[in-house]
C-alpha cells in the first residue's frame, strides 16, 4: 500500500479521531476562563482547581473503590468462567453464557435502571454494593474473552504432562495453567479497570450523591459550569490511558489480544 491518496485519507481520519483529545489537552493549560484554541498562554490553574475541588476528590475515591473491587472480582469471575466454558460441557451452559455475555448487548441504561430498581428493593441505594455489582457485570465479558483467547492458545499437553507426572489438579491449575494464561488475565484486568473507571451511563443510575463516581461528578460539573476544569481532568485521563495503552501494546501486544495480527 503505497498510494499517497490512501495514506492521506488515513491521516485525515486519524486527525478527526484524535482532534478532540488534542483540543482538550490544549484548552486545559489555557489561563483564561473562556475556552481558547490554540491556548493563549500556559497555566496549571485548572489542574490545581480540578485536583482540589472537593466533589472530584470524593468522586475519585469512590471511583477507585469501585474500580478496584469490580475489576478484581471481574478478573476472578471472568477467569474461572472462561476456564469453565473452555473445559466443561454441562446442562444450562448456554443459558449461563447468555446471561454473562448479555451485558455487552443490553443498553447500559437498561442495566443501570435494573440495578437501581433492585437496589431500592434491597435498600442498598446508599452504598457501593450495587455499583460494584453493576460494574462487575459490565466488565466481566472483557476478562472472559481475554482469558478464553489465552486458554485457546495454550498447549494443553503441559497440563496433561504435569498430571501424568503426579501433580494434583490444584498444582496443575496454580503452577501450569494460571502462569500460562497470566498475560490474558492481566490484560483483561487492565481493560476491566479502565472500563470501570470511565463507565458513566449505568453509574448515573446506581450512584447516590455520596457515592458518585468521577464520570458522574464530571457530568454534573459540565451541566453547571463552563470553565476548563473538566479539560484538566480529561487531559489527565487521556494521557494516562494513552500511556497505559502504549505500555500494554509493548508488553502484551494489543493486536494479538484483539486478534487482528497479520497472519
Amino acid at each position: 500500500m503505497r498510494s499517497v491518496l490512501f495514506w492521506s485519507a488515513v491521516v485525515l481520519i486519524l486527525v478527526y479521531m484524535t482532534l478532540p483529545a488534542v483540543v482538550v489537552v490544549a484548552t486545559s493549560v489555557n489561563p483564561t476562563e473562556l475556552m481558547a484554541f490554540p491556548p493563549t498562554g500556559f497555566s496549571l490553574r485548572w489542574y490545581e482547581k480540578a485536583l482540589t475541588y472537593p466533589d472530584f476528590q470524593e468522586a475519585f475515591k469512590s471511583s477507585l473503590v469501585v474500580m478496584a473491587l469490580s475489576s478484581t472480582l471481574a478478573t476472578l469471575l471472568g477467569s474461572s468462567f472462561a476456564f469453565l466454558i473452555f473445559h466443561y460441557k454441562f446442562r444450562g451452559r448456554g443459558l449461563l453464557e447468555a446471561a454473562l455475555w448479555s451485558p455487552l448487548i443490553i443498553p447500559h441504561f437498561t442495566t443501570g435502571f435494573g440495578f437501581l430498581l433492585l437496589g431500592s428493593h434491597l435498600s442498598l441505594t446508599q452504598g457501593y454494593a450495587v455499583i460494584v455489582m453493576a460494574h462487575l457485570l459490565l466488565v466481566t465479558p472483557f476478562v472472559t474473552r481475554a482469558v478464553f483467547v489465552s486458554l485457546s492458545n495454550v498447549d494443553t499437553n503441559y497440563a496433561r504432562a504435569a498430571a501424568n507426572l503426579g501433580a494434583t489438579p490444584s498444582e496443575v491449575l496454580f503452577k501450569i495453567t494460571i502462569p500460562l494464561v497470566l498475560p490474558g488475565m492481566i490484560g483483561g484486568w487492565l481493560i476491566a479497570a479502565i472500563l470501570s473507571l470511565t463507565e458513566f451511563t449505568a453509574s448515573l443510575y446506581v450512584t447516590a450523591s455520596r457515592t458518585q463516581t468521577l464520570p458522574v461528578a464530571m457530568y454534573n460539573y459540565i451541566r453547571e459550569y463552563a470553565d476548563p476544569t473538566i479539560s484538566a481532568i480529561s487531559a489527565l485521563l487521556i494521557l494516562s490511558t494513552t500511556i497505559i495503552m502504549i505500555v500494554a501494546n509493548h508488553f502484551l501486544g494489543l493486536r494479538r489480544i484483539l486478534g487482528i495480527d497479520n497472519g
Binding site: 448479555s102 448487548i105 473538566i230
Partner: protein
C-alpha cells in the same frame, strides 16, 4: 470434586450467583413495566397495561425514528471512515506504523464517554474550534450551529463508534487469504479491482456484523445526545432518563428500556441471519 472435573463446582457457583443477580435486576425492569404509575411518587400501584398504551403517541414515534436514523447514519459513516484505518492497521508494512495506528485507533475507546463527549463540545460549540477557525479564515460571519443539531450528534457518535468498528473490521481483514488477492493480481486485475472485487466481498461478513454492532450500540448511546443534543436531539436513552429522574415515572421508563433492549436484540438477530447467509456464500468460493 471428581477427578475428571476438578474445580467444576467452585468455578460454577460464583458465575451462577452473579448471573442470578443480573437476571433479578433485569426482571425488575420487566416487572415495573406492568406496574401502575402513581403521579408524584416513586411508589407504584398494581398491575396494568397502561404503560404500554402510553407509547402510542406521535412524540414517542418520533423519538424512536430519530434514534433509528441517527444510529443508522452513525453506523454508515463509521464504516466508511473505519475501513481504511482497519486496512492500514492490518496491512501497513512497517511494524511501528501498525503499532502507532492501533494505539491511536483504540485509545479513544478507553477514555470514557464523558471525556469524549466533553471534548466534542469544545470542538463543535458556538465558540468551539470549528467556528473560531472558520471565522478566523473569514469563511463565515456568525457562528454556524453544530451543537444541539443532529449532524453535530452524529459527528461525535461516529468518532465514538470507530474504535469498536476498527477492531471488528481489522479482525475480518486479517483473515482474508492474501493468495486470493495475489491470484487476482496475477490474472491482471488492477489494485483497485482487487480491492473492490476481492477484498471487500471477502470481508463482507465483517462489514455487515460491525455495521449492526455499531448500530445497536449507538441506539443505546446516552451522554452524547444528552450533552451535545442538549435536549433538542432526543434519543430513547434520554427519554428513559427524563421519565425516570424528572417525572419519576419509573414504570414508563421501564417500558422504554424494554423497547431499547428489544431493538438491540432484534438487530443482532438480523445480523446473525445476514452474516450466516454471506458465510454460506463465501464457503463456496
Amino acid at each position: 470434586m471428581t477427578q475428571q472435573r476438578p474445580f467444576f463446582i467452585p468455578f460454577l457457583v460464583p458465575a451462577v450467583l452473579v448471573a442470578v443477580i443480573f437476571a433479578a435486576a433485569m426482571f425488575n425492569v420487566f416487572q415495573y413495566s406492568f406496574l401502575e404509575f402513581v403521579p408524584g411518587s416513586v411508589e407504584v400501584g398494581g398491575f396494568t397495561l397502561d404503560n404500554f398504551a402510553r407509547i402510542n403517541r406521535p412524540i414517542y414515534y418520533w423519538v424512536l425514528l430519530d434514534t433509528f436514523l441517527l444510529s443508522f447514519a452513525t453506523a454508515f459513516f463509521a464504516l466508511v471512515l473505519s475501513y481504511p484505518i482497519a486496512f492500514a492497521v492490518v496491512r501497513a508494512e512497517r511494524n511501528w506504523v501498525r503499532s502507532v495506528l492501533v494505539v491511536l485507533a483504540i485509545t479513544p475507546l478507553f477514555t470514557g464517554e464523558i471525556v469524549r463527549t466533553y471534548s466534542w463540545m469544545l470542538v463543535l460549540g458556538t465558540d468551539g474550534v470549528i467556528n473560531t477557525t472558520l471565522k478566523a479564515l473569514g469563511l463565515i460571519e456568525g457562528s454556524i450551529p453544530i451543537m444541539y443539531t443532529r449532524p453535530g450528534v452524529v459527528i461525535a457518535l461516529v468518532q465514538f463508534a470507530m474504535p469498536v468498528m476498527i477492531i471488528l473490521l481489522a479482525t475480518a481483514i486479517s483473515q482474508v487469504k492474501r493468495d486470493c488477492e495475489k491470484a487476482a493480481a496475477n490474472l491482471g486485475a488492477t489494485p483497485n479491482t482487487v480491492f473492490w472485487r476481492v477484498t471487500i466481498p471477502l470481508t463482507m461478513p465483517g462489514i455487515l456484523s460491525s455495521f449492526v454492532v455499531v448500530f445497536a450500540w449507538t441506539m443505546s448511546a446516552f451522554s452524547t445526545p444528552q450533552l451535545i443534543g442538549g435536549g433538542k436531539v432526543l434519543m430513547i436513552s434520554n427519554v428513559v432518563y427524563l421519565q425516570g429522574f424528572s417525572s419519576f415515572n419509573l414504570p414508563f421508563a421501564a417500558v422504554l428500556s424494554l423497547i431499547a433492549l428489544g431493538a438491540a436484540l432484534g438487530s443482532l438477530g438480523l445480523m446473525k441471519l445476514a452474516t450466516a447467509r454471506f458465510e454460506r456464500k463465501l464457503a463456496t468460493v
